[in-house]
């Protein structure tokens, strides 16, 4: 049984899902990040708009491409538009 990935939700993403973190199952060979985002939007329709404006961060690094694969045990963070300062 592959280890799930951890999905970290910040700001508006956390608000619409109602949780700060999700466990998400991916196959052992991994799944493109864009596919995970699409599946998340299907599971949480209210998240779709936020996802379309968000950056994805895998294991602390910004994705170079939405086709980058996320593998079991990885951490995938959803970053809505920033607002520091």
């Amino acid at each position: 049984m592959p280890k799930p990935i951890r999905i970290l939700l910040f700001s508006s993403a956390r608000t619409v899902v109602g949780r700060a973190e999700l466990a998400w199952t991916v196959p052992s060979e991994g799944t493109p990040a864009a596919t995970i985002a699409r599946d998340l939007a299907r599971t949480y329709p209210a998240l779709a708009r936020t996802l379309s404006a968000s950056r994805l961060v895998r294991n602390g690094r910004y994705l170079r491409s939405p086709t980058e694969r996320v593998r079991p045990g990885d951490e995938l963070a959803i970053h809505p538009p920033y607002g520091g300062g």
């Binding site: 970290l8 910040f10 700001s11 508006s12 608000t15 961060v57 602390g60 690094r61 910004y62 963070a77 970053h79 809505p80 538009p81 920033y82 607002g83 520091g84 300062g85």
Partner: protein, 148 residues
């Protein structure tokens, strides 16, 4: 070049930032501090802002911005400090600063650091108002009104 970067729930001190920027040969030192403002809004007058950050990428981004300030403006020292957690109105939420050979470069570097921080560092804010209604998020840097 020396950069100090900080994400902290503790108060930020302009004096401490000034001290961190001390270095021989820097003829221009600029420190910018952003404070939480009591703007009126749908939730009533803002009394505080709660900041959250994705810490590891935020620190990495702070360091990257410091390297850019060094390369682009010749900054000899920089500071990038940001509060996390609840920050009351009137309190400093962010400090950036740069020490450069001359004033023009120091002003440009500090301006670059605060603008780039707001646009590219994973930090988010949520207003807390006097009203008991739902808090209002500030979803984008364009909506930000707290730091200058």
């Amino acid at each position: 070049m020396t950069a100090t970067v900080r994400l902290t729930p503790r108060p930020l001190s302009v004096g401490a930032a000034w001290k961190a920027l001390e270095t021989d040969g820097a003829g221009g030192v600029v420190v910018f501090a952003g404070r939480v403002r009591p703007d009126p809004g749908p939730t009533g007058r803002v009394t505080a802002i709660v900041y959250e950050a994705h810490a590891a990428p935020a620190i990495a981004r702070f360091r990257a911005l410091a390297r850019i300030a060094e390369r682009r403006f010749g900054a000899r020292r920089t500071v990038l400090w940001h509060r996390v957690g609840r920050v009351p109105v009137g309190t400093v939420s962010v400090i950036v600063g740069a020490a450069c050979a001359h004033r023009a470069a120091a002003f440009a570097a500090a301006r670059y650091l605060i603008e780039a921080l707001k646009a590219s560092v994973p930090i988010w804010k949520e207003e807390r108002g006097r009203s008991a209604r739902r808090p209002r998020r500030r979803p984008s840097p364009r909506g930000a009104r707290s730091a200058g």
